[in-house]
Amino acid sequence: MTHEKAINCAVIWFVLFSSVTSVKLLSLLPFVALVLLARQNLAQPQTSRATLEGTIIRLTASLPQPIPKVRVTLIRRLEGAPRPANSDSSSGLSATTNNYGKFAFPNVEPGFYDVKVQAEGYIGPGSSVELESGDVIKDMSIEMKPVANVSGRVLDLEAQPLVNVPVQLLKSSYDRNGQHSYESAGIAMTNDRGEFRLYWVTPGRYYLLAGRPTAGFNPMEALISASFGRRSAAGNDVPPVLGYAFYPGVTDFADAKVLDLQPGSDLHVDLPLKPSPRTFTIRAKVIDSRTGKPPARASASIRTETPGDDSSAALSSIPRNIYSTTTGQVEFQGILPGNYMINVVVDDPVQPGGVLNSQAIATIPVTVSSADVEGLVLSVAPPLTITGRLRIEGELPSHSKLDAFQVRLLPVGVSSAVLQYAQMRFYTPDGFVNADGTFRVENVFPGDYRVYVSLGPARLQYEGIFIKFARYEATDVLMNPMHVEANSSGQLDISVTAGGGKITGTVIDARSQAVAGASVVLVPERLRFRTDLYQILTANEKGAFSIQDIAPGDYRLFSWESIEENDWFDPDLLARSESKGVLVHVTELSTENTSVRIIPAGAQ
């Protein structure tokens, strides 16, 4: 009995078994077809095409119901290729479900397909299927869940409607460096009755925000938002709303309550908001740490740490204070209570060639509560040049000469917005390694960094080579962030080695059947902050996977049926999933073999 036939038999067994245990369910489903779930691999020539039919079912707590008018698209996946993130549904075969939720593809070329489903008011990850020559699958069943809606009104404290106020749902998310932020799931504007409606939202946990928590009063932003506002108000003036509120009517994000939007829910929320709240002023003095005096030229910008300042982020960073060369004084007006980051940049005169060189910056957190902030000192420091040496332990692949390496420092521990700012302005500090292993990384501003080593300039991740140790000023900067101060003078010593371990295995479901095309995530067991150690890949159509080049250490292997990109950096999600992952110990050049059980979407 081949492996595949074993699976098929097991499926029949399961279907029969479950038909006994859940008669109620089967009486509602086209269960006759279910029994036929096993492939009818009829004796047909290899060139013959396959047939795929099935039903789209509404996933609810109570009764499953078929969904009509679902657009079902088959998108062929090349063998071994990961599931395309943004597959273009126009390039595949498509069909639409009838009134009984049924779809049919009578004539499909054999291959491995992703099945994408789109329906008004429903969402679902779709499915995937391998069709062999002559296959006739009659009873594919794909679940979709209804979306959620949030509507309501934004009112002032006298219960009068507030017009043209942006209302948005914010969702926690992570970027590929593990930096956390809140992303907007769409913005609706209130109408003349103060009403908004955010429809067809993906069920999940959200914060609801009305208004924009901008970093104080930015006149340019006011100008732009006024002209935008006018557009939706037929050219007439709309009184500006400067305040903001999170559900259930708080300005401090720490007091905001999560809205857990269940599938099919239709929530109505009235949010009270103070349209013209009291604002404060921040006064600070810029000092150049090299001279102890105010620098000749400086610009400062402020950014709120309150989530939701999405599209206007760039505007809020516009330096808009008046800098006085004699006193070094900067002033930010119209600041609402909250947490902020102030960025100060000192531009030295332009060097020949138009390149801005040897700047100094400072990034300082400020909290505004119920009074003006006075006497803040913004001490700017110039960037450092960090020197070091890279050593190779053991044998490396022939193409990896020392001077092909690049050392890169990625800022950590600051808000991602500051990170963006730093990257935009200075790029990530990096430097090439010389043939003798020495290197210089220039333009490193004081702050915390994570050390990366790459082969060639393009890749952040190294291939088959990992850092064995990295030390800076007697600190292990592999286990800890690399802390750089204005007067730091240490050497960065890095040792790299090849010969990582390997894990092979299979993704299985609750019935120990292989799951095709599932995502597999390798998570470091203890060094969760080392986002470079995470590996993400997709199992093939047989459910098999192979992870290479793993730095020795302990890891936990997960396979989530449904997970948003980078959510594997979410400590809460990891804590909830911990027991469902497989612990794997990887040593140099070891090959571990394990199976990992998929975590169903409902069990996360």
């Binding site: 008011g121 017009v163 930015n218 939706s232 037929a234 050219g235 060639g353």
Partner: protein, 660 residues
């Protein structure tokens, strides 16, 4: 006497100027009740703010720039120029902002109809009290406008007679007290409804728009968007804060738009930034439907929104938009297919924003082996399709190795290449079927030289030639050709001699448009070779060497007079216009004016000829280009001859707004 005046001026500067007082009451135009909490701004029309003011005036935008925003702009311009940036434009910008007396300004009010006005910091805006009253004391004597903005009421200027019209400026003399101003504000309306598809289901995420037709300064009819919304999951929409008026309502995607990408969220969708569209919804493209449910714009029903009315139930059914494809060949002047060609297609529309944005995001398949191309997913409509020879591939330099200056030079030179490469422009009309067999023959554009001759003793100053704009408008309904470098450009060769050159002219048929004529002159004649291009179109042939001769004359007349309303009172802010008899396509011969605060008007620079003089109580800017309006005007008023250098005085009664 001269000495005394100078002394007086000097005294006025050092001693406090005798201030004026201005005030009045704000009433609800529908009920006559006073309105509290209306923001009233007193804006000076004669406060010099230098080139910045000229730049703003040219923007023709509707906005208010606060003192803080001004200060920010100035600081940024200064910071840029201090960054050691040698770009002369940056320096000029810094100079421009330096000339703005920011500390004397509270805000700058910009409107397309009445230009730039400055609210001085000495008399900031006031709010009306519970009796609707407002007053400004200690006002510096000058020329002012009053701008009123109250929640729930349409924004309006004192003396404004129509939604898009301009208000009246008035002079305040030293010690003058003018507290008898009565301003009536019109409460705003709303309109809402539900859009369904052919199966009766809600049509989700459909653009719904309130539009009206306007005319531009060259007499071309344009579609102007007043308000926009997207339907929600119930198919419901609501548009609010509508100024009372007559509008058209549309649902669906404009022709030529929407088909260009799968998600409908790319460029070209005017709604992408300001309305919610669920990330879980897929954009369906519906044909543009006019209320009450017709596809033909000429059968669209007018929606009258009375002041303060909430119109509900403006429902419509929309059907999917059909799409077609356009196929053809591109050939160079030797009838060979070019190796590298850029083909763009833009919709020609009455809606300017639509025309400009539709160029993007349309993919064109081109086969250099035989020169064939195909453009898919094109909806019904009239388009401009242009092909542009990219020439042999040029290696792009590594920008990171270039200085800012070198980069700028690179882009400038590549744009120069773009302008001179062979190109072709054609108009394509798509009507319920695919378009096949279109041939685009690439040709090098040429230049046309020309000269202004002045047929009178007076000559414009040399500098005034530079402010003139000569345009050759392309063919097609909209006549707008939006492709980089294709719009022919006007270059002044010698201001002293009045000679000019128009570059990038492709063979074809054009309409000559002259704007920015110096005051006191009119165009007497325009000839391209022997052809009269003032009263006819200008046909440019391949390697045309004819010269364009434009004759200006200062033999103009001035007409002034008084306007009275139907009850015989002198009326302020009344639009008065001279319509040239029998020359309705000569936009520059239409001469408009507004009556001032005393009901007087003066029309200058009138070319000699026969005109119809009319005055209307309510008239949108340039609405006198509307053929229906012209017919009405000519049926009411008698033509008057305007003779050489005559300064006539006429009195006229305004036609009431209800007469239209």
């Amino acid at each position: 006497m001269m000495f005394h005046a100078a002394l007086l001026a000097l005294l006025l500067q050092v001693s406090p100027v005798a201030k004026a007082t201005v005030g009045g009451v704000v009433l609800n135009a529908s009920t006559g009740e006073p309105i509290a909490n209306v923001r009233v701004s007193l804006a000076r029309t004669d406060m010099p703010i230098g080139p910045f003011g000229q730049m703003l005036a040219a923007m023709s935008a509707e906005t208010t720039i606060s003192k803080d925003a001004l200060a920010t702009m100035r600081r940024q311009a200064e910071a840029q120029s201090q960054d050691g940036n040698n770009d002369s434009r940056v320096a000029a910008q810094a100079e421009m902002f330096k000339a703005v007396p920011v500390s004397d300004i509270f805000e700058v009010i910009l409107s397309p109809s009445s230009g730039v006005a400055v609210v001085p910091s000495t008399s900031p805006p006031v709010m009306t009290d519970s009796a609707g009253r407002f007053v400004f004391i200690d006002v510096v004597p000058a020329s002012y406008r009053l701008v009123f903005s109250g929640s729930g009421f349409a924004k309006a200027q004192y003396g404004q007679r129509s939604a898009a019209g301009s208000g009246v400026a008035f002079n305040l003399a030293p010690n003058q007290t003018k507290t008898d101003i009565v301003m009536r504000l019109s409460p705003m309306g709303a309109i809402s409804g539900r859009i369904r598809d052919l199966s009766g289901d809600p049509a989700v995420g459909v653009p719904v728009e309130i539009v009206r037709f306007t005319f531009d300064e060259t007499g071309r009819k344009q579609l102007q968007s007043v308000a926009r919304a997207l339907t929600d999951d119930h198919g419901d929409y609501r548009m609010f804060y509508l100024t009372a008026g007559r509008y058209y309502l549309t649902a669906g995607h404009p022709e030529g738009l929407g088909q260009s990408d799968n998600t409908g969220r790319g460029l070209g969708d005017p709604l992408r930034e300001s309305a919610y569209f669920s990330p879980n919804a897929s954009r369906r493209i519906y044909a543009l439907t006019y209320y009450p449910g017709v596809l033909d714009a000429s059968r669209a029903g007018v929606i009258d929104v009375p002041p303060g009315t909430d119109l509900q139930g403006a429902d419509m059914v929309v059907e999917p938009q059909q799409s077609y494809r356009v196929r053809g060949r591109v050939l160079d002047s030797t009838a060979q297919p070019p190796q590298r060609v850029e083909i763009t297609m833009g919709v020609q529309s009455d809606d300017l924003a639509l025309t400009a944005s539709s160029r993007f995001g349309r993919s064109v398949n081109y086969n250099p082996a035989d020169g064939t191309f195909e453009i898919q997913k094109v909806s019904n409509g009239t388009y401009t399709i242009s092909a542009f020879d990219l020439g042999p591939p040029v290696a792009r330099p590594d920008f990171s190795q270039l200085s800012a200056e070198e980069r700028a030079r690179y882009f400038e030179s590549s744009m120069g290449v773009e302008r001179t490469n062979p190109r072709a422009v054609e108009t394509v009309k798509v009507t319920n079927r695919d378009v096949e067999g279109l041939v685009l023959t690439l040709e090098k554009s040429g230049s046309i030289s020309g000269r202004f001759r002045v047929e009178s003793a007076n000559r414009p100053e040399a500098a005034q030639f530079g402010t003139m704009r000569l345009q050759l408008k392309g063919p097609g309904t909209g006549g707008r050709v939006f492709s980089p470098g294709i719009e022919p450009e006007f270059v002044v060769v010698s201001a002293a001699a009045g000679s000019f050159r128009i570059d990038n002219v492709l063979p074809g048929e054009y309409r000559l448009v002259v704007q920015g004529l110096p005051s006191g002159f009119y165009i007497k004649d325009a000839r391209f070779g022997d052809a009269d291009v003032l009263n006819g179109s200008m046909v440019v042939s391949k390697s045309d060497t004819r010269a364009l001769d434009i004759v200006l004359s200062s033999n103009v007349a001035t007409l002034s007079g008084e306007v009275r309303d139907a009850s015989g009172n002198l009326a302020a802010g009344i639009p008065v216009v001279l319509i040239p008899v029998g020359k309705h396509d000569r936009a520059e011969l239409f001469r408009p004016a507004n009556s001032d605060i005393d009901g007087r008007f003066t029309i200058t620079s009138i070319a000699l000829g026969e005109y119809t003089l009319t005055a209307w109580e309510s008239l949108d800017p340039y609405a006198y280009f509307d053929p229906e309006f012209i017919a009405k005007a000519e049926s009411i008023a008698k033509p008057i001859p305007v003779g050489e250098t005559t300064n006539s005085t006429v009195n006229i009664t305004a036609i009431p707004a209800t007469a239209r």
